[in-house]
Symmetry: C2
């Protein structure tokens, strides 16, 4: 048996016109704004019309701490969505959009894999429906208006050294990380140091993904802190007067995108905020819309459950009033082995002991997730080299933890590989046993919130922060920002802040390097370690191999 590549499978997809996919969810064609024949936006009018309907069941797919072996979180999200449809349920999936820039570096596609993919794959990894371009434009309009305000007299008395708002581009371009602008004399303004981040790191992206509607979007945009005066008074986007025009630029981008899986089931693909300095989930408007249209909505969150699921619960669900009914925790035999100390080159050999040694990482995630009051099912994303004994070892471990693990073969088999998982997930979701509650209340102090996450999710002993950081948090509380949730930015590879500390570490500390206020998005970012917000290209960027072949097909993108 020879395997087809993801792109070969995607090219062979028997796509249905997007209107047919919309029909499955009861969206009439006049409410679908098509982009080509296989992509569409759902109209704001239609979204307004369905608001009174009851919500379907919400299922979160999350994962253990990622290893170089890969877990297949998006693949499992797609596979579970197809599995639910295959057993006769009306289900939709909600995932994030891919960023264009990294595709020219070395990142692969972000639309699942094997026979659990969302299509059209190429467009989703390129311009798609233009949402990220709209975010780039809106972000940079604000940037231009800030420098323009300073240029024409600086009525707001912005301290040019304290302009917090940078520019963005959806491109891996290290040369733009740190720049000096406004050189060239009087007509070009006042020189100052600034830089570009990649578009997915824009607060506008986080805002678009958390806004309930266009009014709420504009209000949040207006709340962005763009600069400070010499007296440290915050200057907001609304002071610059950019919030109205930014909303106009984002009007279409706020409408969720509908595409399809390889099995022609509906998939919402909308928004894609960074999972470190932002919350790493698809848009609230896509999720809430999907819940009005489908009986089961399967969604995912960035990175492992310690970061992704925690932010999904404490930021997205809290702010959007969502209550998940079931969590699927994705694990692979290979990742368990890596957690158990096996090198990547040796992953093909059976090693039950290593799996047993690696299971505590999985166990701690199960324990953490249950702490949010949501039932957990473990999905073992099957790989060809997995042995029965290895799979059984994981199943036994999970059973000991009071949960259950189900083997899934969606990568090779599509929905046929997730029928058991889908059946069990639907049972759990229908049972009403979930009693979701976020980790901490809004009223808790900011530092206490950080400590709660660090001790209860990361199982750390303490949070380390110098006086300057504690003072900053107290100052924000005094200014009325104390009720905001925390957005942790730490390594995705460990429960701790040390990426090499696998498994389920204890006794560690969480040092805070920096805190940032995303007043528009509505969270306080707590940075533990180095966070790169503008990637670079590698020595041999993927772009060198990307091109059209003689058939006009795209080669080298994945």
């Amino acid at each position: 048996m020879s395997f087809k590549s993801d792109i070969e499978i995607a090219r062979d997809a028997k796509k249905r016109p997007i209107q047919e996919i919309g029909e499955k969810l009861g969206i009439a064609s006049q409410h679908l704004l098509p982009y080509g024949h296989d992509k569409a936006k759902v109209s704001q009018e239609f979204i307004n019309e369905v608001q009174a309907r009851p919500d379907g069941k919400l299922i979160l797919v999350t994962a253990i701490n990622p290893t170089p072996a890969g877990e297949g979180k998006t693949t499992t999200t797609v596979g579970l969505g197809d599995g639910l449809n295959a057993i006769g349920k009306k289900a939709a999936i909600c995932i994030r959009e891919a960023s264009l820039g990294p595709c020219f570096g070395m990142k692969g596609g972000a639309a699942g894999g094997g026979y659990a993919q969302v299509v059209p794959m190429e467009e989703m990894n390129l311009h798609f429906t233009g949402d990220f371009h709209a975010i780039t434009s809106a972000h940079n309009l604000l940037s231009a208006m800030i420098d323009n305000h300073i240029y024409w007299g600086n009525e707001l008395q912005i301290d040019e050294r304290r302009v917090a708002w940078r520019r963005v581009m959806d491109m891996n371009d290290r040369a733009l990380r740190d720049i000096v602008v406004s050189l060239g004399g009087v007509t070009n303004g006042f020189p100052r140091q600034t830089g570009f981040d990649i578009t997915v790191a824009s607060e506008v992206m986080a805002i678009l993904c958390l806004a309930r509607d266009l009014d709420n979007l504009q209000k949040r945009l207006g709340n962005i802190i763009v600069a400070y005066t010499r007296e440290r008074k915050a200057i907001y986007c609304r002071d610059i007067g950019a919030d109205g025009a930014m909303t106009v630029l984002l009007k279409d981008a706020m409408q969720p995108n509908l595409v399809q899986t390889l099995e022609n089931n509906p998939a919402f693909v909308h928004g894609g905020p960074f999972a470190n300095i932002a919350h790493g989930c698809n848009s609230v408007i896509a999720t809430t819309t999907a819940l009005k249209l489908a009986d089961y909505v399967v969604t995912e969150a960035g990175f492992g459950a310690d970061l992704g699921a925690e932010k999904f619960f404490d930021i997205k669900c809290r702010k959007a009033g969502l209550a998940p009914d079931c969590v699927v925790l994705v694990a692979t035999i290979r990742a368990m082995k890596m957690n158990g100390g096996v090198a990547k080159a040796d992953l093909g050999e059976e090693n039950v002991d290593a799996i047993k040694a690696g299971c505590p990482n999985l166990g701690r995630h199960i324990q953490n997730l249950k702490g949010f009051g949501v039932p957990v099912v473990v999905a073992i994303n099957h790989f060809v080299t997995d042995t029965e004994a290895e799979v059984q070892a994981v199943k036994d471990y999970v059973a000991e933890m009071g949960s259950e693990a189900i083997l899934c073969t969606h990568w090779a088999d599509g929905s046929a590989g997730t029928r058991d998982l889908a059946t069990r997930v639907a049972e759990i979701a229908d049972s009403g046993q979930a009693q979701f509650a976020p980790l901490y209340p809004d009223e808790m102090g900011l530092f206490e919130k950080i400590e709660t996450i660090a001790t209860r999710i990361y199982h750390a002993d303490e949070v380390l922060a110098d006086k300057k950081i504690r003072d900053q948090l107290r100052a924000w509380e005094a200014e009325g920002f104390g009720n905001l949730p925390i957005c942790m930015a730490k390594t995705q590879y460990s429960f701790s802040t040390d990426p090499n500390l696998r498994g389920a570490p204890t006794g560690h500390s969480v040092p805070i390097r920096e805190v940032r206020l995303s007043a528009g998005a509505g969270f306080v970012v707590v940075i533990c370690g180095e966070i790169m917000t503008m990637p670079g290209l590698p020595r041999h960027p993927a772009a060198l191999d990307i091109g059209l072949n003689d058939l006009g097909q795209i080669e080298g993108l994945f």
Copy 2:
């Protein structure tokens, strides 16, 4: 009688589904890639299929030198297209796309006016179908790959001081005109001075608008000169290896956009290169496709006829093998009066003498255009304050010049206001009397080509250029670029290089400040005077007044 604003008229438009507009041109719905319900791209497959068909008649709309009074070139293009359809002809129009950035400064819309508009107006002035965003991405990918090449060892030995390729953004942002990049130490690269231009100034834009197909696009992209070595050896885009990935990013953007006029007639809106450092016409692929689908194609060129029509003939028609059948030269009574010395405040008063004094500007354009072997009709774009005596004065003058002037009221009346013009234009186009030839042959030397344009079109006495510029032109000839056409960048307000010299000046000189080689687009840019390639925002940018109203409609954009 009270007048509706352009945007009110556009909002009241009875738009037909874009598939119906496509049907008028024989485009089946599977070959229309919709963007919403009122915009679509015409598929590359369909374009390939119709190549063997005969061409329709090509009509160029151009204008006298612009004055602050406005001429209404796009409005007349739209009005004539509707007029041709109204008298039973199968006609389509081809115009440029609008740039997003300037809309937030002070520019109005670029989709016609009154009852001669193209819709959807808002989308056309915002993201439209994403073409400009794709051009921005392709341009900046090349920029990132150049700096990345230097970062990883600079195998091509690029002289960092001689990187010619800047970055682009579709935004009026003066702070980005002149910047230093790659600050921040070893991991961010080698600091150097560079800057951003606005996207419409990108050579990628000019290339997209001149490329015949995707193969030709990639070849032209590969030919872009991005930098030089210390030994002044040119480094091309293809040396960097970006041409394939850039073509992938531009694949969809290469397909022309179809929209409709207020009277539901087909309008291709595609591409929008600068009219100074580039050729200022919509894409070749839109024009050649329209010619296969309609019996009459009405198109326009940027600025006045001395710049726009000359470049249309000598660059676009020459390179695409187009032969125009008729030229419509747009003039207004108000612009004639301004050319005759009347101040803007006094334009409302009848002044036949001023018109007679201003007519020589019109006369010279007629004379110039006839020199290309194409018959000329003058369209007088009527304004409410025009008197019969004033209109008659222009008609008499034009008759003396051996041409004819026709009064048009399309702004107020739509196609009913251009029936006479349409009838006459169709007669001329059908008569086959045009004998188009470009101004100069490919083989002529570069400096001689510049002199030919300056003396025969601008009616200057001489071209002034220092030795460095003449040497540069000779060096390019030696490198094989001598066969390229010239792209003049001078003021649009005068035949001369002095914007205040109205009318039909003689005895003036044309000083050349700089020459640039656009090897990918395929022309030599000759710069006479200051050319701004990154605009700034005014003190009170339009963005301050742009927003959504309570009905969710866009306010303040125009």
